[in-house]
């Protein structure tokens, strides 16, 4: 075991190169992974923020961002279906926003009823000590530069209607490069010029005594002209639309997969090269009577030390880098499990690569020790 440590301590330059290789790989894997995870999360962010069990959308709607109108009476009729506890409405439309100093900008305007869910960004009149007006407009802190509001409340225009921006929220930033504005359903439909005869998304909560899939089935029979999806189904549909059917999402998905593979290849290459560096000494060990297990233990120890130090270094650099990237890519997101999911295969590759390198070199020809 002393040999493993001494090799590392002795060949510090070599060790640094190996560690750097591994940390680069871990960095790449975590960064690309965070882009993908963040993109997927952002693609269904508002759907996931609702408390509803079922979403009713127009047929052919692929994603939250591209909702199309349905008849307004669907909501009243759905409310009468057995098992439906509560209904709420959400609408969204690209709209024209005029900043306080008169600049024009396209925004994604989202309107929702208050009961859509605790986490859904809607003006909350009751929960606001400073007294938020029911028609307040909210925007995300990451879209500050696009919204260009310096003090609140700010008088702005949305689709040539007067609107009041009253609050900044966090975590619902632009995902399409177009900032979101959130307001009440009533206010949003006024801005969009939509009457009660029209709707976009109808959200339903199912009574505890009923199974969601039974209610879904009876709603589908009742309203064949619309789509009835569970919240997870719609979220998944939205995510797969953005990642698979759009070029941008496809690029992120491909980059993440390639990043993962490249990371694994870099790790194995680096560790393989590091082990091969001392292969002659492992051959000597074998000639002097060391068992396979003894040699494997030394090689593995060395590889895992390199792997562990490299992984830690990679994580220590990638986390602040992602923090910084957030200002440019607000939807990038690193869940803690991602770190684990990237480090574990890296360490596994370290072990595999080191064992493979020793095996291939030692099983071929033990007689190599006599070559000068």
């Amino acid at each position: 075991m002393k040999l493993a440590w001494q090799n590392i301590v002795h060949d510090r330059a070599r060790f640094s190169v190996t560690v750097l290789g591994v940390s680069f790989a871990v960095f790449l894997m975590v960064f690309q992974g965070s882009l993908l995870v963040g993109f997927l999360r952002a693609a269904s962010r508002l759907i996931d923020a609702s408390d509803s069990d079922l979403w009713i959308t127009a047929r052919g709607v692929q994603a939250f961002e591209f909702g199309t109108p349905i008849e307004g009476r669907v909501r009243e009729m759905a409310a009468g279906v057995p098992g439906v506890l509560e209904t709420s409405r959400v609408c969204m439309a690209f709209s024209v926003y005029r900043t306080p100093n008169g600049k024009q900008q396209v925004v994604a305007l989202v309107g929702a009823d208050r009961n859509v869910g605790e986490r859904f960004p809607v003006p909350d009149v009751s929960g606001s000590p400073e007294g938020m007006s029911p028609d307040a407009v909210l925007y995300d802190v990451s879209d500050r530069d696009l919204i260009q509001v310096t003090a609140m409340p700010a008088e702005v225009e949305v689709n040539r209607h007067r609107a009041r921006i009253e609050r900044v929220i966090n975590g619902y930033g632009a995902f399409l490069g177009v900032p979101f504005l959130f307001t009440s359903y009533r206010n949003a439909s006024r801005f969009m010029g939509v009457g009660p005869e029209e709707g976009m998304f109808v959200l339903l909560r199912v009574d505890k005594g009923y199974s969601t899939s039974d209610v879904q089935r009876s709603l589908r029979q009742r309203f064949p002209e619309v789509e009835v999806l569970t919240r997870d189904e719609f979220a998944r549909k939205s995510r797969s639309y953005w990642t698979i059917k759009t070029g941008a999402g496809g690029a992120i998905l491909t980059a993440a997969v390639l990043g993962f593979l490249i990371g694994l290849v870099v790790v194995s290459q680096t560790i393989y090269a590091n082990t091969m560096e001392n292969i002659e000494e492992y051959a000597t060990l074998k000639a002097l009577g060391a068992s396979q297990a003894f040699v494997a233990r030394i090689v593995l120890t060395q590889a895992l030390i390199c792997g562990a130090v490299g992984s830690i270094l990679g994580l220590l650099t990638v986390v602040p880098c992602i923090g910084y990237a957030k200002s440019l890519i607000p939807w990038i997101y690193t869940p803690w499990w991602l770190l684990l999911v990237m480090v574990v295969p890296s360490l596994a590759m370290c072990s595999l690569a080191s064992i493979a390198s020793v095996r291939s070199a030692l099983t071929v020809e033990p007689g190599r020790v006599f070559r000068a």
Partner: protein, 230 residues
């Protein structure tokens, strides 16, 4: 019939396939008596190293039998061969093959560890061995801080750690100057005289003649001549 302590019988070894095939040994039968120092000489490519690899249980012959400490080792598994090497055989190489990151004493201590991991007092025994070879003041030097002659003495100390009965050396003095070379010859001779070890030395170096009991000359993969030195 010679005793079968160490040797090969009808051993043939070839390398490569088809047209590129090289027959390194062609039916060699040669035994080495316990407690002797034998030289293996011969032109380059005559199969000396190949013979030594057979005796060291590092290579299996295509045909024939290898005896080590009186036992035919042909049928043994890789693991069993490792044990034979661990218990019976040690090597000295032309290129020393010390562990570059370990100090002299740690190199020798590792030799003890490889022979018997449970053995206590490795460091003390390693120090005693090095002191015996006049390296008492170089214990914590690393190999690249030692002269070739010193390196080879450390390597011999490592080889002797754990007291193996057989010592195989391939050109142990080829990288050394005359003075250091003689020193190594004497050390290996002492192993035979003082401790009754069996030593086989492959060499081109005629200086060895006066230290050896026998000289075996190989040519073209066959034994050409066996001389008994006076």
């Amino acid at each position: 019939m010679p005793n079968h302590f160490l040797g090969v019988e009808g051993a043939s070894v070839s390398f490569g396939k088809r047209e590129a095939q090289v027959r390194a040994l062609r039916g060699v039968s040669q035994f080495f008596e316990r407690g002797t120092l034998s030289l293996v000489m011969g032109p380059s490519g005559s199969g000396k190293t190949t013979l030594l690899s057979l005796l060291g249980c590092l290579l299996s012959p295509d045909e024939g039998t290898v005896f080590i400490d009186g036992v035919a080792v042909n049928g043994l598994s890789e693991t069993e061969k490792t044990v034979v090497r661990q218990k019976k055989i040690s090597f000295v190489f032309q290129a020393f093959r010390l562990f570059h990151s370990l100090s002299a004493i740690d190199n020798v201590a590792l030799g003890f560890e490889l022979r018997d991991a449970a053995l206590p007092g490795r460091m003390e025994m390693a120090r005693d061995l090095l002191v015996r070879f006049g390296l008492g003041d170089k214990l914590s030097q690393e190999p690249n801080e030692l002269s070739p002659g010193e390196k080879q003495r450390v390597a011999i100390a490592r080889a002797l750690a754990g007291n193996p009965p057989i010592l195989l050396a391939d050109e142990p003095t080829a990288s050394l100057d005359a003075q250091a070379g003689r020193n190594i010859c004497q050390i290996l001779r002492n192993q035979v005289d003082d401790d009754g070890r069996t030593v086989v030395v492959v060499t081109h170096d005629p200086r060895w003649q006066e230290f050896a009991d026998h000289t075996i000359t190989l040519c073209d993969g066959q034994v050409e001549q066996v001389e008994k030195n006076l």
